[in-house]
Amino acid sequence: MSSTPKPSPPVFIHVDGAYWELHHARSAASPIVVAELYPTGTRTEPVEATYRVAAPRWRLEESLGFVIPESMYQAVLAAPAQTIDAAPAAANDFPSADRDRWRPTRTSPVLMPGAGFATYGRILHDNAPLRTWEDGSHRIEIVSLTAGPAAAQAVSYRLWLDSDLTAADNVPVSQELDAEDDELVRQVAAHAITGRAPSTLTARQQSAVAAHGKDLLRSIALPASPYPQGTRVALVGKDGRPTDITVTVTDTITDANGATWYAVHPEISRIPGHPLREHPDAFLILSADDLVPTLQAPSSGIEPILSYGSRVRTIDHHTVTTGTVVRTFARADVPWYEIQADDLAESTVRLSAQDIEPISGSFWPSIDDLVATRTEAGIHLQEGEVLVSLSGFATVDAGPQGPVLGPERELPPRDPVLGQVWSHSHRVEPSSAGTEVEIEPL
């Protein structure tokens, strides 16, 4: 009457209308992961897998079109291995309509016995790559850098072309590179686009590379000096290394001595509250020695406590993916945010800081500026709120006539334009149209 239950798979990912089971299979070379897709339903008879792939980790990700985060992979490896009949085919393509249809989303429940329940979004968040480079729909993740034998090191990476996970691999790279080096991103891209034998690529991968490869390589290529207009550069710190302050080149100036200077516009000026937000023509003039081209993400003004106007992404919220912070509350030491979803049809939600990832911050020169902007937008003070500006913060308390703003407490001084103190002195020039930009010195 009853059969022995099938051993629970080490990893179980529930997607809409189906679920993935990931198993571990024995193989002579690298470990093999078996992914099986089963339709869901309430029937009680055994169901057949709709789809089955068995491949080493990176080939499996390429085939399925979704990430198997490190902790999930480790859970698979920790499980007893099954013996599989035949070695998997070298390259295997999950039909592309199905890649979209059965790809887990941030909210997909994931079961890993022993590790409990998590969502796919939460696991991705907890296994964030060392570094991400993004440009439109192309994206490179540096997943990990591991020391190899004989002073070698290997990088694991993933590449999305046109928003599709096209390639994932683990390859040796030069010893001296670290995750911050842009050269690492270039080597990884070169490997994915030109370094692999066509025979190791599926038809889908080959056509993605053919369609977008050149485009990708162009956008990460090192620009020749003098840097053309629009080049993204990082400011160099006292130690000669790039800082994470990024600007874009708007003009090149050669002085009487033949030295090169650049007019640059800070990328942080895109965020709400920044004094140059409405002045795209304003610029700083910096010596070429203080700048290097960069592939790092634009300066985003993210602070430990986000304020009105900051942009966030939820980790695994069911209805809100990205949104804007409207209010900040302090509850038991953890900030909570009232968030207006980008899908304006959604109502605002209140989420704890641990349920969101900041995308970019805000840049309110003073609490007064912040209050004025909010009031204009019809956002009035509420008891329990925390208001944060560049120079200080204040809480909103209950008063006899309603909420009142408490006294402002100072924060460490900031640069009024860059948001971070930079070791070299600099000042803002008025925009070419002659608009005066008034910035209070700190």
């Binding site: 009457m1 059969s3 798979p9 529930h14 309430t42 055994p46 989303t105 909210t107 016995p113 998590a118």
Partner: protein, 433 residues
């Protein structure tokens, strides 16, 4: 109360009586069910101890699939074993799967607000002197959608339940019910689209001659007969429901789109009778606004439902609502502590006790958490559990539950992820923002 880790649903966590300890024994308990992925369509709730893998559930889905006869569910068990937290995870994790569903929670302890805020739902805090008013006769969009006679019957049902609760009766005699019926008909005919309790009170205070005609009686006789009703309604308006249910509804809810609503009744917790009346009024209002609408699935959750179930007039009212609402996709979840406690509250005559139990025994989905030994004997007989199952209930740990879904069973190790505690935590029930 200590924190415990809820991570993991490994097999060793269920401490069963010795004779239930192995999967082999569970096979005997549930022949043929091993490996069944019961209810895999729906929200993930935890580990399925019998079938292996995850346990997934959705009430509407189970009904649609024909697994259960009605989309109704009761979650019962001893205090602090996780009933509310399980319901919250069910609601939270379902939102993406059921984007068009409307969920309403009647929340006597005020512990659902954070979840509501995280989901962008309206949170209505009902209290005397507050700024939220709910008219139990308000029919919202249903006015245009349903037949007049049905809507009148609904309003009469709400009015009769309120009067019965207020006067400590199980049921109104036909005579009184008929007066309410004709009065509400008259009010509506007089062009008051959504009459209020004060409107009803005024009408009963000075009944027009036509009302006596409608009731085939004389004005003098009517003046006598309406007296108890007038007193009851006046008391409702001036005391229990004052400042809560005594004007037109003040909440502007988009019934076609709003994802959900928390009705926080915690301010009334110390006034049990008022709380019950407001609960019935709010349930009536919700049902009225959704009356007959088939466009969306509806789910109404009553936490601490024993407060309602200990009053037979409300129980009967809820039972009627369940029966009716089924046709237009209204599902219900009642969360209550152990059933035998309920039994002791309703022992004013066996007929009465049977109604409350009837509601529970006819509920298609029954989820049992830990039950205390003295509660188990009663369950055995009344709820059709086997004696092995009844014994099992005594040894369930917090967050472990026996699910009876129609004819199928599952033992589920419910999981609440660490970050979900922000939304489920009942140790820090939150009021105000």
């Amino acid at each position: 109360m200590g924190r415990r880790s809820t991570a993991g649903f490994a097999r060793h966590r269920l401490t069963l009586p010795r004779d239930l300890a192995t999967t082999a024994h569970l096979c005997v308990l549930y022949p043929g069910r091993i490996g069944a992925r019961l209810g895999v369509a729906g929200a993930f709730l935890g580990g399925n101890r019998l079938g292996g893998g995850g346990f997934f559930f959705d009430l509407h889905e189970a009904y649609r699939e024909g697994l259960v006869q009605g989309p109704n569910m009761v979650l019962c068990g001893a205090g602090a074993y996780g009933k509310s937290a399980i319901a919250k995870t069910l609601v939270y994790r379902s939102t993406a799967l059921t984007p068009t569903r409307f969920t309403a929670v009647l929340d006597p302890k005020g512990e659902w607000a954070r979840l509501g805020e995280a989901l962008g739902w309206a949170v209505l805090r009902l209290r005397h002197g507050g700024d939220v008013r709910v008219n139990p006769f308000d029919l919202g969009p249903a006015r245009a959608a349903a037949a007049d006679e049905d809507l009148l019957a609904h309003r009469v049902g709400v009015a009769a339940a309120l009067v019965a609760i207020a006067t400590n009766r199980t049921n109104l005699p036909a005579g009184e019910r008929r007066i309410l019926h004709e009065s509400l008909r008259l009010l509506t005919a007089a062009g008051t689209p959504d009459p209020t309790l004060p409107d009803l009170r005024r009408l009963l205070a000075e009944p027009p001659a036509s009302l006596a005609d409608d009731l085939n009686t004389t004005p003098d006789e009517l003046a006598d007969r309406r007296r108890p009703l007038l007193d009851a309604v006046a008391l409702l308006v001036e005391d229990d429901l004052r400042g809560i249910c005594d004007t037109a509804t003040s909440v502007d809810l988009d019934w076609a789109r709003a994802p959900g609503l928390i009705v926080d009744l915690s301010a009334l917790l110390s006034r049990r009778r008022t709380l019950r009346l407001v609960l019935a009024a709010a349930a009536g209002w919700l049902q009225g606004a959704m009356y007959g609408s088939r466009d969306r699935h509806k789910l109404t959750i009553v936490d601490e439902a024993w407060m309602a179930l200990e009053d037979l007039a409300i129980t009967r009212f809820l039972q009627d609502q369940w029966r009716l609402g089924r046709q237009w996709g209204a599902a219900n979840i009642l969360i209550t502590h152990a059933l035998s406690d309920l039994r002791s509250q309703v022992d004013d005559g066996s007929a009465a006790a049977k109604i409350a139990e009837g509601l529970l025994t006819t509920t298609s989905v029954r989820v049992f958490l830990h039950q205390n030994p003295e509660q188990i004997r009663g369950l055995l007989a009344d709820l059709g559990l086997t004696s092995t199952e009844a014994t099992l209930l005594r040894s369930l740990q917090p967050f472990q539950a026996l699910w009876k879904v129609g004819t199928q069973s599952a033992i589920v190790d419910h999981v609440v992820a660490p970050w979900e505690w922000d939304l489920c935590d009942t140790d820090h029930a939150m009021t105000g923002s």
